[in-house]
């Protein structure tokens, strides 16, 4: 009896040791092999049509999963150490494959907010610097989220911040402002950006079109009207300046020259009860009476 027990104990422990050793070896091998955070193969490498076919009616879920996967890849720089603690590593991300995950997720569900927000959070910044790719993702989101002003707003921000194209950015802001329930500041920011680019006329038209679709009772409506009137004043001044430049052969050094020369009988009223101001570059402000002393604010939002 006891011999039999000994025998079984012996065989059993040999088998357990063998199992433990081999499994541990496999784990060690895996831990040592991959320096990158994850392998970059996955379903997102399938052609879009094949992926849609595979996902069938569960494509929404798969988009959710892909976005989670992307978030998990970039989300943490902590790696579990064999001792049970964590250590911080500087992960070498495969940005191209990360971008493909976002695009794939959008193919499956073009409206998912998490996709474009996480993409915006990583792709346009350094190190990847994938601005054009991010803009593509944002455009898809904007097209499929007609109820959401944020993709357009983000597009506008990127255009202004990274590309330094205030006019284009302003137009995007104004598009964002057209989305129902969009906050009013979008229209204001947009109009300002467009006007800064020297397109006061189009800024006025866009403001007017905004006012036409907004309800009078909406909060901020009167502020928008004020801003429209101010822009109209700016337009009058701009026209007067060009007329002055035509006749005098030089730009006016200050706005008062417009009235003294007789091009304007009086400066237009400013709804903000401030004086209009012209900076050294010839831009007109309705809200900064001391604009001449301001340093150019290029590159600042």
């Amino acid at each position: 009896m006891s011999r039999r027990l000994t025998f079984h104990l012996f065989v059993g422990s040999i088998l357990v040791c063998f199992y433990a050793a081999s499994y541990n070896a496999v784990l060690q091998e895996r831990g040592g092999a991959g320096k990158s955070a994850h392998s970059s193969s996955g379903i997102w490498n399938l052609p879009p049509m094949a992926l849609l076919a595979v996902a069938g009616e569960f494509k929404g879920l798969m988009a959710d999963y892909l976005t989670l996967e992307a978030g998990a890849r970039v989300g943490t720089q902590l790696v579990r150490t064999p001792e049970g603690g964590f250590r911080v590593v500087d992960k070498q991300h495969d940005w191209a494959s990360l971008h493909r995950i976002f695009v794939t997720s959008q193919i499956l569900d073009p409206s998912f907010a998490q996709t474009y927000i996480v993409a915006q959070g990583w792709l346009p910044w350094n190190p990847p610097g994938m601005l054009a790719e991010t803009q593509g993702i944002l455009k898809t989101a904007a097209k499929n989220r007609q109820w959401d002003w944020q993709p357009l707003h983000t597009l506008g921000f990127n255009t202004y911040y990274f590309l330094n194209q205030p006019v284009e950015a302003g137009k995007l802001y104004l598009d964002a402002a057209k989305v129902p329930n969009a906050p009013l500041f979008l229209a204001i920011v947009g109009a300002r950006l467009v006007q800064k680019g020297g397109e006061t006329g189009s800024a006025i038209v866009i403001m007017q079109s905004m006012l036409a679709v907004k309800d009078k009772d909406e909060p901020g409506y009167s502020e928008m009207v004020d801003r429209l009137h101010a822009l109209e004043g700016v337009l009058v001044i701009e026209k007067a300046i060009s007329k002055y430049t035509e006749t005098m052969g030089r730009k006016p050094s200050s706005l008062s020259e417009l009235t003294t020369s007789g091009v304007l009988t009086a400066l237009p009223p400013n709804p903000y009860n401030l004086n209009y101001c012209m900076d050294t570059a010839g831009l007109i402000y309705f809200d900064k009476p001391n604009c001449k002393n301001l340093t150019p604010e290029k590159g600042k939002q």
Binding site: M49, E57, G60, D109, S111
Partner: protein, 272 residues
């Protein structure tokens, strides 16, 4: 009149059998699990929580329904033949079409019940998510469109079931029938995609220029992607009552046709 009675009693017996098959308990357990999973999964996300929750709930209904159709439904149908239970029924004044229609309706009832249970469970978890994170309630989200999407999901399962009954009526063995109906489901799910690829894309490989073939196929196989309203429900997009009614009509007419063909094929089958 008697024929309607027969169908109804057969449906009732099939439904009872299906429910007592431990399937219902499995469904209830699954519903509880998926509800908890819904709460867990949803909080993994930071944006569009409402969408994730609705999508997850409806997907759970779809997935469970498919399992029920392919396993419970096929098992009940196959057992009737394999274990010669069908003789007990057909030695009575019951015609083949009454038999098939009764079986089909019984399983439709089982599917309906499971859809209701899972749909309610999903709605509960959704309700919790939407209440806890009101900022992420999809704009224009309505419980009516959720219910409509749920009904569409059920309709889609009904159509898959009808196709399974048809496959079952001519396949030589239950396994073949299962394979056929699973592939019909996959084809049906991608019918819209295939049609779009071939008709709109001039570089569709072998299928280029086969527009007519694809259109013919899309009339033969069920276009299941039409019934997939998860996206609409999840984002609170417009889903008109008219489209809903037309979808229901399409589902019912297609299923009726399938059962009719199944009857014709089944009549030729020898029940040895």
């Amino acid at each position: 009149m008697q024929s309607l009675r027969n169908i109804w009693f057969l449906a009732l017996a099939t439904c009872t059998e299906g429910i007592r098959h431990r399937a219902l308990w499995a469904i209830v357990c699954l519903a509880v699990l998926l509800t908890m999973a819904n709460l867990g999964v949803t909080t993994l996300f930071t944006w569009d929580l409402g969408k994730v929750s609705v999508e997850f709930g409806l997907s759970a209904v779809a997935f469970t329904g498919l399992l029920l159709v392919f396993f419970l439904g096929m098992k009940i149908l196959a057992d009737d033949l394999e274990r010669s239970r069908i003789f007990m029924l057909l030695s009575r004044p019951v015609s083949i079409w009454q038999y098939l229609a009764g079986k089909f309706l019984g399983l439709v009832l089982v599917l309906g019940l499971s859809t209701v249970i899972l749909g309610l469970a999903a709605a509960l978890s959704m309700h919790y998510v939407l209440w806890k994170y009101p900022a992420y309630v999809p704009l224009n989200f309505s419980w009516i469109s959720y219910t409509m999407a749920l009904v569409c999901q059920w309709m889609s399962l009904v159509v898959v079931l009808a196709v399974s009954v048809l496959c079952f009526s001519f396949a030589s063995s239950p396994f073949v029938a299962l394979l056929l109906s699973v592939s019909s489901y996959l084809v049906g799910q991608n019918m819209g995609l295939l049609r779009r690829v071939v008709v709109e894309n001039p570089y569709a490989g072998v299928m280029t220029g086969q527009d007519n073939l694809v259109i013919a196929l899309s009339w033969i196989f069920p276009n299941l992607s039409l019934f997939d309203k998860k996206y609409e429900a999840a984002y609170g997009l417009a889903f008109s009552g008219q489209e809903f009614l037309l979808l229901c009509l399409y589902g019912i007419s297609y299923s009726a046709l399938m059962i009719y063909f199944a009857t014709l094929l089944f009549k030729r089958k020898e029940l040895a």
